[in-house]
């Protein structure tokens, strides 16, 4: 998440809202955000874990999840997916957002 924080200006420049999503409680996430200087919202899918399940990145038996990044355009359509270790690096997502912005800019 720190890498996304470092690149936050890039995302903001391409008219993009970044969210972290975790299955930790709001309180745990606030502590995490404080310790790591995360300014973008971290969402808590703590109560039902329905979102991490909807996005197919939570293993109920193991109780662990995959790292994944989804880029969603202004129409609510998924435009880019990074999974696993690739998702740690925000470069792919940043590029995807950049392309989306330019697509909109050029009629």
């Amino acid at each position: 998440m720190k890498a996304y924080q470092a690149d936050i200006a890039k995302f903001e420049a391409s008219d993009t809202q970044v969210f972290g999503v975790s299955a930790d409680s709001v309180y745990a996430n606030r502590e995490f955000a404080k310790q790591n200087g995360i300014t973008f919202p971290i969402l808590s899918d703590f109560a039902k874990r329905s979102v991490v399940k909807d996005y197919g990145i939570f293993n109920e038996e193991g109780g662990y999840g995959n790292r994944a990044t989804f880029v969603i355009d202004k129409d609510g359509i998924i435009q880019h997916i990074d999974e696993g270790s690739v998702a740690i690096d925000p470069a792919g997502a940043a590029d995807a957002c950049n392309i989306l912005t330019h697509k909109k800019a050029t009629p």
Binding site: M1, K2, Y4, F11, S14, D15, T16, Q17, V18, F19, G20, V21, S22, D24, V26, A28, N29, R30, F32, A33, I38, P41, I42, L43, S44, D45, F46, S50, D54, Y55, G56, I57, N59, G62, Y64, G65, N66, R67, A68, T69, F70, V71, I72, D73, K74, D75, G76, I77, I78, Q79, I81, E83, G84, S85, A87, I88, P90, A93, C97, T101
Partner: protein, 96 residues
Amino acid sequence: MIKIVFSLVVILFAAASLAAQQPSAPAPTQTPAVKAPAAPPVAPHTNLKVGQAAPDFTLPSTIVGADGRGVRYKLSDFKGKKNVVLAFYVFAFTGG
């Protein structure tokens, strides 16, 4: 005759696989954990694909509003306004 050929093939195959195993078994090089520990060996994979609609949700967040209460975000509120990046770290404290 066929049986002999067959057993020869079996023996050869067994020998070959043994030989293949010999040079392997490299000691797992334990690099001192500087950053995140390795990901779990088996990770679930998303069934969602590029081009599909993102499942909507409303979730509480780390952000505190002017009223002192936690802000909840709804994905569909961003429709027509902004692109959204969702960076999933299922457990923020595990694995950096």
